[in-house]
Symmetry: none
Subunit: 413 residues, 2 copies
């Protein structure tokens, strides 16, 4: 029989509207993938009385209660204490976790404050869920026929903890018909364009299902299959993936968590090619993406953030005349940047970006969002003129991602 779940988010900042309840969204999606029905979301502040009421209400109507937030070291963090109180369980120090914390703080050359010691206290019978990104552990607590899972509030801590520590245990605990999903990641195609290409598949598919989701600079296609066995479900996904790849081809750059930078890295490593980068408006973002991949030193030789014209001249030897004649934001300068950084770094390939990120500095002729991206290879020197909409931040991000994707398409073509 299917498990019913309630998600209780704890945090006054939610009730003050300072942040949206992204954890409830994330957890709901993940629980659905595990075949668990989420019937309720509740949010309370950092208040023991109301948390107690919410917890009692939840325990009266669902099998699984997931609490997020209120596990930190500070005085307003009450979740663990309230859960122990409602269930009538004593709090006991988890020696293993206390030692872990001791090491953590001494490794930082800090001493462990009392309120941090509090983090090693757990309700009797609770199992620790490791937190690789913070000091507050999560808790797995089976109580009679019910299950309580306590998770930290910060998404950076909650999300990896859920996928690594909670999801596998839950799948086993719930023993529900496995629902397996797989994400195909698409770059360089808009959501609507992509849907056009695969509309007939999307509409006729029932199991596995296909859910396209625009993810800012990418589109993700989530394929979800339900079946008696994981193997069976995987086979179903393989078949559907193959059909979709026939339509989208190289627009699909990766699967599941694979980032565009990782996809590019894999190809560069495979072909033993090296890369150098010169950036103006993106200010280092393209280099950051390229070096986000472990082992990137094997292919990434150097990156130059030539934000000023002075730097373009000094570091890249761009001719003042070229800058005067065409301006820093031009195909000519972008090409020269790519050509020169490739020669100076003695790399196989190079990318250069020059554009107007805004919000200021736009003109009639060169509006905010105008970006030139140049790619230099042993065979050729290409430049693309693009216009991106959005904030300074999104223009910079779209430009860097587009450059990465141009490189990828060159490498796979």
């Amino acid at each position: 029989m299917k498990m019913k779940a309630e998600i209780i988010a704890v945090g006054t900042e939610l009730l003050l509207g300072q942040i949206a309840n992204g954890n409830a969204r994330y957890l709901s999606e993940k629980l659905a993938e595990l075949g668990i029905d989420v019937y309720w979301h509740a949010t309370v502040g950092d208040n023991a009385v109301r948390l107690t009421e919410a917890l009692k209400t939840a325990l009266a109507r669902v099998d699984l209660v997931v609490l997020c937030g209120g596990l930190g070291p500070t005085m307003d963090d009450l979740t663990k204490e309230t859960v122990a109180d409602v269930l009538g369980l004593p709090l006991e120090a988890d020696q293993e976790w206390e030692n872990h914390l001791q090491q953590f703080f001494s490794s930082l050359g800090r001493y462990m404050t009392e309120n941090n010691r509090k983090q090693a206290l757990v309700p009797r019978g609770a199992k620790i869920l490791l937190n690789e990104h913070g000091t507050a552990p999560g808790l797995w607590l089976e109580h009679g026929q019910q299950l309580l899972v306590l998770l930290p509030g910060p998404p950076r801590e909650l999300e990896p903890m859920f996928t690594q520590e909670v999801a596998p245990r839950l799948a086993e605990y719930a023993g529900s018909e496995p629902i397996i999903s797989r994400v195909l990641r698409v770059a360089g195609l808009g959501e609507s364009t992509m849907e056009d290409v695969i509309a007939d598949i999307v509409t006729t598919q029932t199991n596995p299902t296909i859910a396209p989701l625009a993810h800012y600079t990418e589109v993700h296609l989530r394929l979800t299959a339900k079946s008696g066995s994981r193997e069976e479900a995987e086979k179903m996904l393989d078949g559907l993936e193959e059909r979709i790849r026939e339509r989208l081809g190289t627009a699909i750059f990766g699967r599941d968590e694979e980032s565009l930078a990782e996809a590019v890295a894999k190809i560069l490593l495979g072909k033993k090619l090296t890369l150098a980068v010169a950036e103006s408006c993106t200010g280092g973002l393209l280099s950051t993406m390229l070096t986000s991949v472990p082992g990137s030193s094997a292919y990434f030789l150097q990156g130059l953030v030539t934000y000023s014209n002075r730097a373009k001249m000094d570091l890249l030897g761009i001719k003042p005349a070229l800058l005067r004649e065409h301006g820093a934001v031009s195909a000519e300068v972008a090409k020269a940047m790519a050509e020169n950084v490739r020669r100076r770094a003695a790399s196989d390939l190079s990318l250069a970006i020059s554009g107007v990120a805004g919000p200021d500095g736009g003109t009639e002729e060169k509006p905010v969002g105008l970006v030139y991206i140049a790619l230099a290879t042993p065979q050729k020197l290409d430049c693309r003129k693009l216009t991106f909409l959005g904030t300074r931040e999104s223009i910079r991000e779209r430009a860097a991602v587009t450059a990465l994707n141009l490189l990828r398409l060159y490498l796979v073509s």
Copy 2:
């Protein structure tokens, strides 16, 4: 006396995690501005039984219930019907709104379907709240000592309806005190350490209140004051801010939305100082942060991503002997990187980062997370040895943020 409120969001898409509950965030923020305390958020699917339970629970504990979603013309829209049912009120056609709808549809050259006629039905005694962006009206329903407000789900309908139709009525109805809050942003102190320093203030403060919130590389202190007038509330916040600043001093880098990079930018611009950067393990992230601020070309001269030893030698003139003797991850090399990039860029200041971001490449002597950050100024050349925990991504981010903060502390000291 202050009104207590609960927000009930209705919609299965929320429980499936397809969208986050942005309406609860928006409404909570607006209600707080009106001096209304939001004590609860609840979310239920399009299900009459559970919506009934949620509504009864809310009516048992708050003065104001705001429901959003489920007002549309389709069969799964049950909010209005459920409210009428729970309160024992008949649904009656609102002639005015029915005429309005007639006109609306004929203006579109469409005829009004039966399920649209359903939208003109309202619980007896309810007042229509105009919807300029859709066909579903909102409802204002005073029931004994309690108030229910029903709003449509789509934010583009809900938000203008709230500001134009609801807020003015509520201000009058509640006649309550405004709540104003302010965020102090702290860098370089852990949440627990910081709370130690201001524990006595945090515990003794009731109005204004203080809520510490860990934000990954920062800690935010939210001060919230309630008072008869905005001016008075602001004064209360000023007083408390002053007390906290006496304790935390320069650890506080900004207020509200100000980012660390913006804080640094402001000081650099004010002092007319220029900066150059050399990065190894952070791979361009520090440059990215520094150039994320509009107008950063005024102080940011150049950034060198010298990821390989080759690049450290070519671009920064680091002596091979120095790299051999101490290794790239060392105080000596970090200092040389800072010194050389400052000289070559002819900048006033420079930052250099060299470390082991991992997950590979760590050794007993130089473990993953070990980072050297050097700061070169006209007066001195400093280097800090730090150890960060976490993923490659978080080690890189913590290193870049720490470098920014070291620069800031130098500038304000």
